[in-house]
């Protein structure tokens, strides 16, 4: 989700809604007459977000110029709109019917969408940071503005994981901690950058969908694989161009001449001696401490992990490449008469393989999933019989969305869901001073199913009426999100 914080110059705002990038004075509109500087805020005069899929019953379709190639040029085609919960408000404690219970028709079937903003006391974010750099030990506290807001959790392949927020930090750790936690997870959910520090670890700038910045250094790439895997992938390309390759990695450092991949090709022994703990031939654990140097280790000088070469095997002029798993760090050496490595310029033939390692790394990103439980009284806004809503969700009769975005509903009890915050329209999340987060949530089902679970049938409002009455803000459904009223139409890139 893009950062929507406007750039300012004095009291003027730089609008980023289109490439003209107007500077707008307070009270004035930009060149388009659509965006306004309202006392320092860039606004598009509206509160409620309505997703445009098309427009129903004879009204024209909205399509996007970016996909003009796919449009057949037909000016009339039917479609639909979906009312999201963003800006809908909430009725906490939810004994009253939810703010919007909207009926519409899709493919001739009467559908109901219950639209509300839930107050989530039990909620947090799971953050995946694509980096091998050591951010902190598992279970280490993670802080924002000095307050503990979560911890480092189990790492994943090529990524470090943080678990932030949750009821213990929001309401169980005192006022200051609660506020810091709420601010941090709210900003992360709304796509803003947040600086986090890990006890005895790194400082990392995290923003959903953007590369992480670890200790002030922008992380551009994920490692291509562990050191051993890198040897396996590139052995063929190195063979004959260099005598030895060491791929430095905090997890497993690989050595070409000893590795199975080198043996298969017939790479000669080089007499190299490594620090660290040998796992299997050519694979070393713990060559150095974890850190933010080469390949997620603390290494700044790669020669520091080598012992003296075995004089019985090594030879003067032996050529050696040392490289990290992202290719970002690399050095080339040749042994002198005393079998000491001397740094030399990287030969052109090897430069190509270094580029190849870099090319095979995926861009590193921070990704943020909001996770919350729509339990308790929120369900009462939907139905007089709350447990039936839970059952209906489990039975897949009711489709849950968050600002129109698909969610993963965790199996088991309750309605605990996860959503990728970049798939939710911008600034969809809010907070209450409890502190707790406010997130949009929509429940969509057939009219007959809604009646059966004890829905507030007397509060149903037709879609047209909601569209006409509320002056909502229309947004395109985000690329790749399925249409909430017909989720099976789209590819399911979600859980």
């Amino acid at each position: 989700m893009p950062d929507t914080t406007p750039v300012t110059d004095g009291d003027k705002i730089r609008c980023d809604a289109c490439p003209v990038m107007c500077f707008i004075k307070p009270g004035a509109t930009g060149a388009c007459d659509r965006y306004m500087n309202d006392a320092g805020d860039l606004v598009r005069i509206d509160p409620h977000v309505i997703l445009d899929r098309a427009v129903d019953r004879g009204e024209p379709v909205v399509q996007f110029l970016e996909r003009a190639e796919d449009w057949d040029g037909d000016p009339v085609k039917a479609g639909g709109r979906f009312v999201t919960a963003i800006g809908a408000g909430t009725t906490y404690p939810d004994y009253k019917p939810a703010p919007f219970i909207v009926s519409s028709q899709i493919d001739g079937v009467d559908m109901v969408t219950v639209v509300t903003e839930g107050i989530f006391s039990y909620c947090g974010v799971k953050v995946k940071i694509d980096t091998d750099r050591h951010l902190g030990s598992e279970r280490a506290p993670v802080r924002a503005k000095g307050e503990m807001i979560g911890h480092v959790t189990t790492g994943e392949y090529g990524s470090q994981m943080l678990s932030l927020g949750g009821v213990n930090h929001l309401t169980g750790g005192g006022k200051k901690q609660g506020r810091a936690t709420c601010d941090a997870i709210l900003d992360l959910c709304n796509g803003k950058p947040v600086e986090l520090t890990v006890d005895d670890g790194a400082t990392v700038l995290v923003q959903a969908g953007k590369p992480p910045v670890v200790n002030g250094v922008l992380e551009e790439r994920m490692r291509v694989g562990c050191g051993s895997a890198t040897i396996g992938m590139f052995a063929q390309q190195w063979f004959g161009k260099v005598d030895e390759v060491v791929v430095i990695d905090d997890h497993i450092t690989g050595v070409l001449s000893e590795h199975q991949a080198g043996k298969v090709l017939g790479v000669k022994e080089t007499g190299i001696r490594m620090t660290g703990r040998r796992s299997t031939p050519g694979r070393y654990f713990e060559v150095a401490h974890p850190g933010t140097g080469w390949g997620g280790t603390a290494i700044l000088d790669p020669l520091s992990i080598l012992g003296a070469f075995d004089p019985k095997i090594a030879w003067a002029g032996l050529r050696m490449l040392m490289i990290s798993t992202t290719g970002e760090q690399h050095a080339y050496y040749e042994l002198d008469g005393a079998l000491k490595p001397v740094a030399r310029d990287l030969p052109a033939a090897l430069a190509e393989s270094v580029e190849r390692v870099k090319e095979n790394c995926e861009p590193a990103l921070s990704t943020v999933l909001f996770m919350g439980g729509a339990g308790g009284s929120l369900r009462a806004g939907v139905t007089e019989n709350p447990v039936r809503l839970t059952r209906s969700v489990k039975d897949a009769l009711t489709y849950v969305t968050c600002g129109g975005a698909p969610v993963y509903v965790w199996p088991g009890g309750g309605i605990t869901f996860m959503v990728d915050v970049t798939r939710v329209p911008s600034n969809a999340f809010g907070y209450v001073p409890t502190p707790a987060l406010v997130a949009p949530i929509e429940f969509t089902m057939r009219l007959e199913d809604y009646a059966a679970l004890g829905g507030h049938m007397d509060h149903l409002r037709p879609l047209d009426q909601v569209l006409a009455g509320e002056g909502g803000r229309k947004l395109p459904q985000l690329d790749g999100n399925p249409w909430p009223l017909a989720p099976s139409d789209s590819k399911r890139s979600h859980g």
Binding site: V20, C32, G58, L65, A68
Partner: protein, 297 residues
């Protein structure tokens, strides 16, 4: 957040609205249904990225054109530059004076190129590019106050006329005017030519030293205005007939010069309820009802 550009067919099922940032185009085409669809699609494809392309050269396009000023590279930007070039020697003008017409022309060209059409137009906020197959014609309504639209006359353009562009400029539209005309409508060979000329003629309808005309620096209203600190008209008092005619006369002289130089075909000038035309034009009322002479609040 960059708002996605839109294709929005209008409720009549015939016209299409293309929108990106400050650009709003209304298109309509006539011909076999398949050709019309192909033309709409081609228009949408052409429009995609057009604003981004212009914005890359925004600094050049907002700068006054002179002998030493840089020539932009993009095709639409070059057309803007070319359309204002003839005026650069004797007055202040920037390529932005032709932006609306040049965009309309570019999108119309894509439509005409994609399919055989009988007629088509691209209306970019009152600056209109026309396509007419032999024997076809268009009738356009003329409005003297864009902020209070009502037709005061029509302009009929035949295929045999050398007119494929209609543009209107004045002090009530989206952009600022250095003059006091309520509106100036120009017929010219292309929409970009008409657009540039409308700006020039509207600026020429003026009473430069009149003490009661309120003028403020353009950049005090819009910090990004290509007019910089030049004074633009904000309010005009009700003028006595002699002064009003003197202002109109200034504009007519400028328009007559442009007609004899072959840059435009016709002009229609409107100020406080009075309309003067020059060159080929349809039927226009010479004076509309007095209520039009109300002071602009």
């Amino acid at each position: 957040m960059r708002e996605p550009p839109l294709i929005r067919p209008l409720a009549d099922g015939r016209r299409v609205h293309l929108h990106d940032g400050p650009i709003d185009l209304i298109l309509e085409a006539w011909g076999p249904p398949a050709a019309v669809r192909a033309a709409y699609r081609a228009a949408a494809v052409r429009m995609n990225g057009l604003l981004d392309e212009l914005c890359l050269e925004l600094a050049i396009l907002r700068a006054p054109v002179g002998d030493l000023s840089p020539v932009p590279a993009g095709p639409v930007a070059r057309r803007m530059h070319q359309a204002v070039q003839p005026y650069a020697a004797d007055c202040f003008i920037t390529p932005m004076a032709a932006v609306a017409g040049a965009v309309a022309e570019a999108v119309l060209a894509a439509m005409v190129h994609s399919a055989p059409l009988d007629r088509a137009y691209v209306n970019n906020g009152g600056d209109i590019a026309l396509h007419l197959a032999p024997g076809e014609s268009f009738t356009s309504g003329i409005v003297d106050r864009p902020d209070q639209p009502s037709l005061i006359g029509t302009a009929r353009v035949e295929a045999r006329d050398a007119v494929r562009g209609i543009a209107t400029s004045g002090r009530h539209g989206r952009s600022f005017s250095l003059g006091i005309a309520d509106a100036v409508t120009i017929l010219a060979a292309g929409a970009a030519d008409a657009d540039a000329a409308a700006t020039i003629v509207a600026n020429a309808v003026d009473l430069p030293d009149h003490p009661d005309i309120v003028r403020v620096p353009a950049d005090s209203l819009d910090p990004d205005s290509d007019l910089g600190s030049r004074l633009v008209t904000r309010d005009v008092p009700l003028l006595p007939a002699a002064e009003r005619d003197r202002a109109l006369h200034g504009g007519l002289r400028r328009a007559a010069g442009l007609i004899s130089a072959g840059r435009i075909v016709a002009a229609s000038l409107h100020l406080q309820g009075v309309t003067r035309t020059i060159g080929l034009f349809g039927q226009i009322d010479q004076e509309t009802e007095p209520v039009r002479r109300m002071h602009h609040a």
